[in-house]
Symmetry: C2
Subunit: 154 residues, 2 copies
């Protein structure tokens, strides 16, 4: 039985990425880079973490050449820059996805030289981590008096 196909997994991820994009876009420019609650990171910083994981993670899963996580090394100065990178990655993820050899998904790999698990579990972690941080962005938006996009609209 095929519980989740490669295509379904990718569609679910890209659906979440589409929603995250709309959450980024819902922030006023200034608040995206400055607002946070309880000493947490701004939503721009959280989005930077997601960007640092997605395509670099896929590239490493394909090449098996470990690179440390590059979080915080990018410099996004505007929402437009951040969204431009997000959109580039959306296409890049679709391209890279098809390059992952089927056998790779169930192999163990130490991602970013640090996190050892099966490739599919690491990919699931990418998605789960994005949902987690985006949920935090929802609270930021509500605290700013802004209605976030509906969670079920992907």
């Amino acid at each position: 039985m095929e519980l989740v196909s490669k295509e379904t997994f990718l569609n679910n991820w890209q659906g979440h990425r589409n929603l995250t994009r709309r959450v980024i876009d819902s922030f006023p420019e200034k608040d995206l880079f400055e607002f946070s609650i309880g000493g947490m990171r701004t939503f721009a910083q959280l989005a930077d973490e997601l960007i640092s994981i997605a395509t670099p993670g896929l590239k490493e899963i394909i090449s098996l050449k470990a690179e440390p996580l590059a979080e915080g090394k990018h410099e996004y100065k505007t929402k437009a820059e951040l969204l431009a990178r997000w959109d580039e990655d959306t296409k890049e993820i679709n391209r890279l996805w098809n390059e992952i050899p089927d056998a790779r998904f169930n192999e163990k790999h130490k991602l970013f030289g640090q996190y050892e698990d099966t490739v599919i579990n690491s990919l699931q972690y990418f998605v789960d981590n994005e949902i987690h941080h985006r949920g935090q962005g929802y609270v930021y938006l509500r605290a700013l008096g802004i209605q976030p996009p509906f969670f079920w609209e992907r």
Copy 2:
């Protein structure tokens, strides 16, 4: 190729449920039922939503008898009551999981008489929705000056 086995899917869900349990438990009694940000629901109310979805959803997936979502119909007055129900459900989910016929996962079903999708996509939604709301609970905890459990510890 089996991307995600039934067992892996369940383990991932139960790992998330274990983390959510620790998030519930991290709240001071009063804040669990009273604290929120930006007009959102309290974490007790969010946990009630998760409880209303998990075992009722599984039961419906097995019986195919649709019932409307019973969110807000439970009355949890203490953290201990909420955690007791959570722990009961953990066992119940393991039991029910094995009763889902393999063929059912890829069938379409209108869950709670309302949400039409394949069963596996609905189950994925259960997990994603839990991660989403738990991420919100992390912000509540941070706003209260409480260190939440590590996201990667399941």
